[in-house]
Subunit: 201 residues, 4 copies
DNA sequence: TTATAAACGAGACGGTACGTCCTGTCTTTTA
DNA sequence: TAAAAGACAGGACGTACCGTCTCGTTTATAA
């Protein structure tokens, strides 16, 4: 449920109701602008203007740029699905390279990282929202794949799935962050191969 | 070598030379402000004012806030030293928990991450400077420790040190980034323990 | 009618209307500052600050310092009244010495002259505004006095009143401009006496 | 004598003497820039740069923009010569229309007026210099013409030549200043004709 | 000759003001 | 009563000049 909707409950309000199209238009505009100029150079002004909306209308819904962008990123992020090719190893490579691709290819991906740092640092509530809508589904898909491997007897049952996740996603993310070099599928495969020996049954 | 200094070589310049104290004052001010309000809320205005310097003097040396902050962070970053307790395992735990502590405890650490994302994304030259002065020394200390382990016969000789580094540093970094939870020495030790089996001789 | 107001007509505007108090505060501040430091050293910055107003608020109404000062001077200039002592000769002396006094005694007077030169030179529209609100009323008072003299049979009916005006006001103005010496009532009387013989019936 | 030269007297100085070419170059540059952008938009920076000279070199000679421009205008102003067609009336028309033309046609002319106001107002010394080098020669030419008319018996001997001058030059100047309309030879002739009856023998 | 001293170009310095953009709040009309 | 429009105080932007101050270099006279 969106943070925006939560004040709707409790019966119909008086006066003109909020226009749902307005909300969409604002988030769409935010996404487009992030893609063009990145998180730092996004301004509420520009979002409102592109959405064909007054600035106060934006502020009425999101108290800050950070809040707005979190919702925009959450809305934008492509749905995740745990691939199931029948081979857990392949599934893991797919998942990781897909996730890294998400992170690194678009401005939105970079916004996500900017948000990750910022929100985690001082905005627990936002971090929670971001977690709930963005990270948790991705971790879940990953963990489901691991679980499938365990059930299939290909992975050891005593592993710490979260730690494995951190290793498999953290290593390429860190490489990208610190060197700026793109992470292709081959690099992703190498990481999975390396960690694989830790987890294989 | 500082980016600021590099055009000095090749004979005496004409005109009044730049004042090194001014450079120090500006970088010190930048560091202080980053620590107080973070990268995003740092303004050139505030830096100049705190440094007791005219704004144009800042712009004369660093064309943008990003350039300035990269140099400030580079100057600030504490010297790295590869610990050498005699036990490679302990050394690795120390190194990792120290590095993560660096990253996560101070505003400057968070600025570093913000920079990592931003600079990597669109400013190859800045990323290079940041790499050269900040990341490379840290990687070097880590790799030297691994090398010592190999020489001592405790680590396999055929490992890819960079990949091991990405795993050991990437996993806790990723955890911190995505959850915001601090990484203590125990968590660092768990990562090292896990990866250790990949690398032990 | 103020240049600022002229685009208000034609139905109610949307959005928050401009605050008339703000306009007053800015013009008052401009007048005060002209009186203190003169036209050349007046800065929009200082005007805004003294008026307790944001700088953009000033620019929203007047695109340049010149535009602002023209309006300020127009507002400031004391109302003119054609004196009517019953004696046209005395009236003329009063009018001239008063006008010259206006021009030369205050910083605003000097601003008026600076404006006269500047505005006339390259800003027809401003010159027109200045003319309409400042010069025309003064010319009118003068011409009315001449007309009274003609009606009373003391002045010739075939004179060119504009030319007489230029002579009576231009001579002392020119003297002041080119020598910087103040023009007192005695000097004004001498001019009127001299020109009088040209116009007396 | 130029204000610049006055500290030269008293024997040769030690050290490198000032370069007269530099002085010329600066004044030429100042004149050119006044012609292009006017007095208000002239900057020392631009003058120095165009003259191929360091800024301190300008300040060494002229303490302010005003001082510099006064000298520049003085240097620029075309030599005056009292025309002598044999007919005093024609001479006066020529003189007046020429002077007005000087004043109104060029940016330098407008600078002169700006200077007249500014310098007269608060800089007695500058006003004096301007007077001495610019105005006095022009008044002298005019007065010489009047004198010739008196000697020839065409003008009354008891006139106040300064007052006549103020009338004949002041009226068209004032007209131009207050209306911005150019003063052509016909307008100049009308003024002379009008005043003529005051002065003719 | 050799100092010494001033002028020169260049350009950095602490500043001020520029005119613009954006912030977050407010007031008004329209729906 | 929400929405759009837009004015408001304010803050920071990056730039242009200000007038002053080093610099290294050049060009004179004085020792």
């Amino acid at each position: 449920m969106s943070a925006v909707a939560e004040d709707r409950e409790g019966g119909a309000r008086r006066g003109r109701p909020r226009d749902a199209n307005v909300e969409s238009a604002i988030l769409d505009a935010a996404v487009a602008i992030i893609n063009e100029v990145g998180y730092n150079d996004l301004s509420i002004e520009a979002v409102a203007s592109r959405a064909g909306v007054g600035r106060p209308t934006v502020y009425r819904r999101w108290p800050s740029k950070l809040d707005l962008v979190v919702d925009a990123v959450v809305r934008l992020s492509p749905a995740v699905s745990a691939p199931d090719t029948g081979d857990v190893f392949t599934d893991l490579v797919e998942l990781i390279s897909g996730t890294i691709e998400d992170m690194t290819s678009s401005s939105v991906g970079r916004a996500i990282l900017a948000l990750a740092g910022t929100a985690a640092a001082d905005r627990a509530e936002l971090a929670d929202r971001f977690n709930e809508h963005y990270l948790v589904p991705r971790r879940a898909a990953f963990l489901a794949t691991l679980r499938r491997g365990i059930d299939a007897g290909r992975l050891r049952a005593d592993i710490d799935p979260d730690l494995i996740l951190d290793l498999m996603l953290g290593a390429p993310t860190y490489r990208w962050l610190t060197t700026g070099h793109p992470i292709d599928k081959i690099a992703a495969r190498r990481v999975v191969e390396t960690v694989w020996s830790l987890v294989k049954a």
